[in-house]
């Protein structure tokens, strides 16, 4: 925000969290999983993995859509839309909000209903008739629309941000601006994705899928594990949250967006650094005030080296820098939303989630990744990084409410 306008804007509070993840569904289970350093890795079952030499992923198991989805037929929704509704419902309940007033629903996603698209393609390839319910599950807009339907919202700014693996942070940024400006009273924002064949196959073909476990920043890291899930945050004006006695997890301090405008898949260190600086400036925070970075930290050779290089460029001596993808895998459009929720919980509960599966830190990364075990910590400012194919970077800053 420019100086001229920032004084008249609302401060923005995080008052509700909803989570569907491979390490726990619901904010309490998720927080417990983060504290315990739980791993979501298991054999992939949602698509046929025959012919791949290895197929470990971080799949959500035991998800019961009927627990969360009551206002519409579950079978009308794709898996990512089901996750979105569940996480949004949980977040609203967690926030203690019944009537949201003027609302925003903004869901970030990489694949949207792409898993249904894959099944359509499969039916065509096998010369089979396409089941009627599949085409209507494909459009990515079904994710936030399903949320609006479930929560019976009418005056609602609905959008799907499809900026690949940085989409969750984009959605949070959009919600932050809308609340700050007073465009809406409540913003439900975050991200969701379902495990799909395309992302797994693509990363596998690039040699960027680890056979067993995701080990960000480790000298022997071999890549990502594909994952799935959803994370939704409820944002509202801080003064309104205080007035209604809401529990405030954290304050959104600001964010930054930029684009590498370079290589389609390889991140650009200078551009990633520039995005962090944009976010810090927007939040009015200096690098030395940041207590923790929740990194994009995919566990690929290129990402972790480039991202850590950018962190060194901006911070000199970096704060502790963790990757929750070590536990959750790469949940694509949900990734930065789940990471943002980890940031809010870390601030509220005073701990740092670990980077698990860690043996030896790669000197190229050169950061303290809080290996394998959570630590207690008094956190005032936490930074959440997200990088995406296409060079779409987004960084969000969270702070302890004051």
């Amino acid at each position: 925000m420019s100086e001229a306008t920032s004084r008249t804007l609302n401060r923005v509070a995080v008052t509700g969290l909803g989570v569907v993840s491979s390490i726990g569904t619901g904010v309490a289970e998720y927080a417990a999983g983060l504290r315990a350093g739980r791993s979501g890795a298991r054999p992939i079952s949602v698509f046929d993995t025959e012919g791949f030499a290895h197929s470990t992923g971080c799949e959500v198991v035991g998800f019961e859509p009927g627990r969360w989805i009551t206002a519409q037929p579950v079978e009308n929704l794709g898996r990512a839309a089901q996750f979105s509704v569940a996480a949004a419902r949980m977040a609203m309940t967690d926030a203690g909000l019944d009537d949201p007033g003027r609302a925003m629903v903004c869901v970030g996603t990489t694949d949207g209903g792409g898993d249904a698209g894959e099944r359509i393609a499969e039916h065509v390839v096998r010369d089979e008739e396409i089941p009627a319910e599949l085409p209507r599950r494909v459009p990515a807009v079904t994710l936030p629309v399903a949320v609006a339907r479930e929560l019976q919202l009418s005056d609602v700014d609905i959008s799907t941000v499809a900026t690949a693996c940085a989409a969750g942070n984009y959605a949070i940024g959009n919600g932050y601006d809308a609340i700050a400006a007073g465009d809406v009273d409540v913003a439900l924002c975050g991200g969701a994705d379902a495990m799909c064949r395309m992302t797994f196959t693509g990363f596998y073909r690039l040699g960027a899928v680890d056979p067993e476990r995701c080990r960000p920043f480790d000298v022997d890291r071999q890549g990502i594990l594909t994952g799935e899930g959803a994370g939704v945050l409820v944002l509202e004006p801080l003064d309104r949250a205080v007035a209604r006695g809401a529990r405030i997890y954290a304050e959104v301090l600001g964010y930054g967006l930029n684009c590498d405008a370079g290589h389609p898949v390889a991140p650009d260190q200078d551009s990633v650094a520039a995005c962090m600086r944009l976010a810090l400036d927007d939040a009015g925070v200096t690098p030395d005030q940041v207590d923790l970075i929740s990194a994009h930290g995919t566990g690929t050779k290129a990402n972790d080296a480039t991202e850590c290089g950018a962190i060194h460029d901006v911070f000199g001596t970096p704060p502790r820098t963790v990757s929750v993808k070590s536990m959750l895998g790469h949940t694509m459009g949900a990734a930065s939303a789940l990471s943002a929720i980890a940031c809010a919980l870390a601030i509220r509960e005073g701990f740092i989630p670990p980077t698990i599966n860690h043996v030896e830190t790669d000197p190229v990364c050169g950061i303290d990744c809080v290996p394998n075990a959570a630590v207690e910590a008094d956190l005032r400012v936490v930074q959440n990084n997200a990088l995406a194919f296409g060079g779409n970077n987004s960084v969000v800053l969270f702070g302890r409410p004051t």
């Binding site: 791949f52 996603t109 990515a140 807009v141 005056d155 499809a162 930029n258």
Partner: protein, 350 residues
């Protein structure tokens, strides 16, 4: 009032390449003749962008696996900049906001097919992967045109018009971008035929260049007065009526109206609701869907572009409002309201 101005636009459409082709096409009002299309996924009669070959447009470098969606967006952005003879000057904080339905369905389907049918499931073309993602078109625009500002893809489907303009206006008002290329893109393919229900499909891309009033260094074509979306579960009629009544206070100021749906029942919803709210006195009513087919995510942007094309030929539009509606089966609807300056974007490529 948002203080956000449209200073220029361009389009690649079934009428042809660039703004003049579309402007003359919609003013002429003759529907584009559908052509027979066929690929590995489906055959269909569709209204496609004529003579559009990716390599011919962009050369061989970087286009080997490029999807048609990305290519349409990249060339439309190029046309917009050429059209303006350097008055649209991107800088490091120039952003891109693009609407889509699902990105390039064809690229996604081909990638999946290769994985399912080749000797090994991972014998896919890795270069194709970034083009299968929904953010490909916006990211390619940034790469080809050197745009390092915010770069956002909104998968808003038929309501991409209001969704994109609202988001872009927010980027400008907060100072996150000092200029935004905002619009939408949709490609035609057999894969998309499989995902849509009947009707003649169309394709294309529309981009507007947006700036805040204080940033503009030239006369704007229009101000974005409002962009609004509503939801009424399974009841697009109610959603659209609520939206329209919220953003338009009286019919007298309305000079032109763009209806986005290409066919019933959604086109009837738009006809009924706009008739009920605005009456029958609006002089200029455009229905681009009937001229260029169902262009999905671009239908709203084509409506706005059609209104701007008519406005530059009609002095009575000056200072009055142009309204574009959009509606989808799920019960989402939206409205964009522009105030027309009556200035023609006259100079330009032919």
């Amino acid at each position: 009032m948002t203080g956000v101005m449209i200073s220029a636009w361009s389009a690649f459409s079934p009428y042809g390449h660039g703004r003049p082709a579309f402007a003359e096409g919609v003013r002429g009002g003759v529907p584009v003749t559908p052509t027979a299309t066929k690929d590995d996924w489906a055959a269909g009669e569709a209204r496609v962008v004529p003579d559009f070959d990716i390599v011919e447009q962009l050369g061989r470098k970087g286009t080997g696996s490029m999807d048609r969606t990305s290519a349409l967006a990249v060339v439309t952005m190029r046309a917009l900049q050429r059209d303006e003879h350097g008055t649209v000057l991107p800088n490091p904080r120039t952003g891109v906001v693009l609407g889509t339905t699902s990105g390039s369905a064809r690229t996604q389907f081909e990638f999946t097919r290769d994985s399912l049918t080749r000797r090994r499931p991972y014998f896919v073309n890795p270069a194709q992967m970034p083009f299968a993602l929904m953010n490909s078109a916006a990211a390619q625009c940034a790469m080809w045109h050197g745009l390092t500002g915010p770069n956002t893809t909104l998968a808003a489907g038929r309501n991409s018009g209001p969704a994109v303009l609202r988001y872009a206006a927010r980027l400008l008002r907060t100072g996150r971008a000092n200029g935004v290329f905002a619009g939408a893109v949709e490609e035609h393919s057999g894969a998309r035929e499989l995902l849509e229900h009947g009707g003649t499909l169309g394709e294309g891309c529309v981009l507007f260049f947006l700036q805040t009033a204080d940033m503009g260094n030239r006369a704007a074509l229009a101000e974005v007065v409002a962009s609004d979306t509503r939801f009424a579960d399974g009841d697009p009629r109610r959603a659209l009526e609520t939206s329209l009544r919220h953003v338009v206070s009286g019919a007298d100021e309305v000079w032109g109206l763009a209806l986005s749906a290409a066919r019933p029942p959604l086109s009837e919803v738009e006809d009924d609701v706009t008739g009920a709210v605005l009456g029958q006195r609006v002089g200029t009513v455009v229905r681009p869907g009937q001229l260029i087919g169902d262009t999905g995510a671009v239908s709203g942007a084509f409506g706005l572009a059609a209104l701007l094309a008519h406005a530059e030929a009609d002095p009575t539009s000056r200072g009055r409002l142009a309204v574009a509606t959009s509606v989808d089966r799920d019960g989402t609807a939206g409205t964009v309201v522009l105030r027309l300056s009556g200035i023609a974007q006259a100079r330009g490529e032919r």
